[in-house]
Every structure is written in structure tokens, then in C-alpha cells.
């Protein structure tokens, strides 16, 4: 497989998904409404809290807004291709559920690659934009001078978060091979929602779970700290190591799970 082939395939997948999406044009307005309401309720959630208090455990309005912005940005990335692809594999009525995964296995490309990038939801680009808007507001509220190093470290942490999110989602999807029918994605959704707020706001045990066991807290808190210029180099290196290890671990889990797949015919 040459280096270019995955890129070409991805472009084809994007094209096919776009055609599919354009066939349902009325959906666009409902999705737009949905995104706008998500944006509004998310913002109001933070505003209502900080109408009442100045800061919570050292987290002030601007920094909490940065966490929300990162949450929305990373969620948009997830909605762009990670979730649509993995849900069609392991979600409700997905390929494993129906036993149709055989067709995917037979294709002459890497299975993990196809399973991860085959479906796109281009509307999520709107959500990505809204996430950037919240981040922009957070930056103006932080009232810090933005240096280049600062911006670069933020983009790096955002990429690391994206990788980490992908790894966790892939791991949860792989678990479906052991227990087809259980919607692991829903469990993840619940935990991921907690990342809307800084992990520092949660009680001790939960904070440990959200940092070390299902590290969704790391996904939003680290880039938000980078944005407010409060990122020790060790944390950057540590979160990179964590996400690299997570991607490797999840791939191993996926491959081990693949071997258990026994189709659905009886």
C-alpha cells in the first residue's frame, strides 16, 4: 500500500458521504437549529454558574469557557468522522450487531483504517466553527497576550486530545466484539459529557477516573490550560505519551477483538 492510497480513499469516503448528506436537504435546517441550541445552552450553563460565583476551585469564567470551547471543538471532530464511522460498526444496528461486518473484513484494505474513516458528517464543520467562536470569546475574556509559542502549544494539545478521543472511542467500539448488543458508546457519551467542565470541579475519586481510567478530563482540560498559558512542558509531554499509548493500546484491543468476530449466521 503506497502512502497516497489512504488519503485517496479518505477523499472518496468524504465525497460519498457528502452526496449522501445532500440528499436530505431538509435535515440541514434541523441540524442547524440543533447546533445553535447546543451552543446557546452550553454557553448559558457556564454563564448561569458564574453569575452566582466568582470562581470554583480556582477556575474562573474565562478558563471554564475555554474548557467548554475545547469540549465543543473536540466533539465536532468526533461528530465529523469518528462517531459516524465507529457507530456504523459498533453502534445500535451497526455491522457487528447485524453480522454484516463480513463485507467490511473482505475489503483489501486495513480494517481499522476503513472502520475509522468511512463515514463523514460534514455538517459537523458548523459545530467546529461554533467551538472556535467559544474559544475566541474565551481568549478575549482571558485578556492574555497571545504569543506564537502559546498558540502552537494550544494546537498541539488539541491534536493530542483528538488522538486520545479517537483511541478511547476505538477501545469502546472494540469492546462490542466481546459483548455485541451492549451499547458501550452510550456509556462513553455519559462520561464524555462530564468533560464540559474542568475535571478540577469534580470530587476526588471521579477526578481520578476521568484522568486515568477514562481520560476524558485530560481531553478538554489540557488544551484549556494551554490556552490560558498555564501548561508545564511536562504536562504536554505526558499527555502526548498518554495519547500515543492509548492509540496503540486501542489498536491492539481492536485487532484482538477482530479475531473473536464470528459473524451472525447460525
Amino acid at each position: 500500500m503506497t502512502m497516497l492510497r489512504p488519503l485517496k480513499l479518505t477523499a472518496l469516503f468524504i465525497g460519498a458521504s457528502a452526496q449522501h448528506e445532500l440528499a436530505y436537504r431538509a435535515n440541514f435546517w434541523v441540524s442547524l437549529l440543533n447546533s445553535a441550541l447546543n451552543f446557546g445552552t452550553g454557553l448559558l450553563g457556564v454563564i448561569v454558574l458564574f453569575e452566582q460565583v466568582e470562581s470554583v476551585r480556582g477556575w474562573e469564567f474565562a478558563q471554564t469557557l475555554a474548557v467548554l470551547g475545547v469540549y465543543m471543538t473536540v466533539s465536532a471532530l468526533r461528530g465529523l468522522f469518528i462517531s459516524p464511522s465507529l457507530d456504523s460498526l459498533a453502534g445500535m444496528d451497526g455491522e457487528i450487531w447485524r453480522g454484516e461486518f463480513d463485507f467490511t473484513l473482505l475489503r483489501p484494505v486495513d480494517t481499522q483504517f476503513v472502520a475509522s474513516v468511512r463515514h463523514w458528517r460534514l455538517f459537523s464543520l458548523v459545530d467546529l466553527l461554533l467551538g472556535f467562536v467559544v474559544l475566541g470569546v474565551a481568549v478575549t475574556q482571558l485578556a492574555l497576550p497571545m504569543t506564537l509559542a502559546h498558540a502552537i502549544s494550544f494546537v498541539l494539545t488539541l491534536l493530542i486530545s483528538g488522538m486520545l478521543l479517537y483511541a478511547i472511542l476505538l477501545a469502546f467500539a472494540s469492546l462490542t466484539f466481546w459483548s455485541p448488543g451492549f451499547l458501550f458508546g452510550w456509556v462513553f457519551d455519559g462520561l464524555f459529557q462530564m468533560a464540559r467542565y474542568p475535571v478540577g470541579l469534580y470530587p476526588g475519586v471521579l477526578r481520578l477516573v476521568l484522568t486515568w481510567i477514562v481520560p476524558v478530563g485530560v481531553i478538554t482540560t489540557v488544551p484549556a490550560r494551554a490556552l490560558s498559558g498555564d501548561l508545564p512542558p511536562a504536562l504536554l509531554a505526558g499527555s502526548f505519551a498518554l495519547s500515543a499509548a492509548a492509540v496503540l493500546g486501542a489498536s491492539v484491543l481492536f485487532r484482538t477483538g477482530l479475531r473473536r468476530y464470528a459473524s451472525a449466521s447460525s
Binding site: V48, L49, E51, Q52, F182, P203
Partner: protein, 264 residues
Amino acid sequence: MTNHRGGWALIQATWLSWMQYRSFFFLLAFSWMIGPLIYLLVWSTAAGGGTVGGFSRGEFVAYYLILILVNQLTISQTTWTMGELIHNGQLNRLLLYPMSPVYNTLASEFAGKAVYMLFVVPVSGGLALLLRPELHLTLANGLAFLPALALAWALSFTWGYWISLLAFWTTRADALLTVEYSLLFLLAGQVAPVALLPDALQVMAKLLPYRYMISFPVEVITGQLDGAGLLTGFALQIGWLVVALAIYRFLWRRGVRRYTAIGG
């Protein structure tokens, strides 16, 4: 129609069939719990050792734990039970039953709520042991809670039912549902107790029906309301229930006359 015996048999059958899928419904109950749980943790951390807007840490815990229970008791699920039946044309079968189709919806309702409670009651009980809620329960508040809860359920059920009947005319009620969910989140005491909302939102919360589906009974039992607040609350709750019943009757009569199905 008064075939109650048939209705009861249907409720039992539905309960048994839902229990078959209990892990699915437990998961559903779990995902509904997360929203209020996040705000429980955020607000109780914000209160710390003092108070925020008159609430202490333990009072936030009590408020949100009761809210979690009430939310799952009153949450409307008719849009994906009744709505789907109309959509897929399976309503034919129900129209031929010797009892009102509302029994079918009630059957899913009771079965569902019973299954959710099997999950939510132990979980919130455990959380209560862990997080030490602080509830100053008086007899009057406890007694007022029961009708408030019953009315909240009735309002939420009827309100959801009329929305699901829109399926007679359109396959696209999802825009309306999206708005509904956001309003339930903002105005029904989930993001914050209604008393802590900024003024404009608070006025909306008190006028629109959403608060009366979830948070009003919780405010009653946690003693947040004075006499006048209680009375206007009950009046608005009953008023919105009457409105919802009127819309339901109107839509059902027109809809069922209009209903045709293809195939079997």
C-alpha cells in the same frame, strides 16, 4: 372506552417484554442521569463550605438527587413509542383492539418507568450515602410534593403525547423536539435550580410549562417555595395540563380521521 381489564393485561405484557431488554433500559436511565449529576457536582463544589444563592452544598445534593428521580418518573417517552407506531402504520392493529390506543401508550409508560426505577433508585440511594444530602423535610412540603409530582407526570405525559400525534401530519417533528429538550434543560431546573437563574430566564421558566414537568415538585419538597409560590405554581401546572389535554383531544380527533396506512 372502559376495558380496564384488557388494559391491565397489556400493561403486564409490556412490562415483561421490556424487562427482557433491561440492560438497554438501564443504559438509557444512566444516560438521562448524567446531565443532572454533572450539575449536582458542579454546584455542590461551587457551594463548598458556604452557600451559593442560599443553597448549601448538602442542599444542592438533595435538590439534584430528587430531581434525578423525578426526571426519570416524568420524562416523556411517547414520541418514540406512539410517534413510531403512527409512522410505521402499526397503529392499525391498535385501532382494532377493543380498547383505546391510549392504553398501549400507558402500558409502555408504566413498564418503562418501572424498569428505570429499578436502576435509578439504588444508584441515587448509593449517591445519597456518598454525598450526604441535606433535606429539611416538613410534613406540609412532603404532602404537597405528591400532587405536584402526579401533576408533573400528567403534564409531561400529555404534552409529549400531543407532540407525538404530530406524526399524523408530518414526519418531521424533530425540530420541535430539539427545542423542547433545550428548554427542558434550561428552564426545568436542570442547569440550575430555577431560583438561581438570571431574571429573564426565571420569568420564562415560571410561565412556560417545562418547569412544571420536572423541577416544580422538587422545589416543593425541598421547601424552596412560600405559600404564594406554591399556589401560583399549582395553578399554572393545572392550567398547562388543561391546555395540553385540549390540544391532545383536538389533534387526536383530526389525526385519526386523516390516518391511512399502506400495506400491513
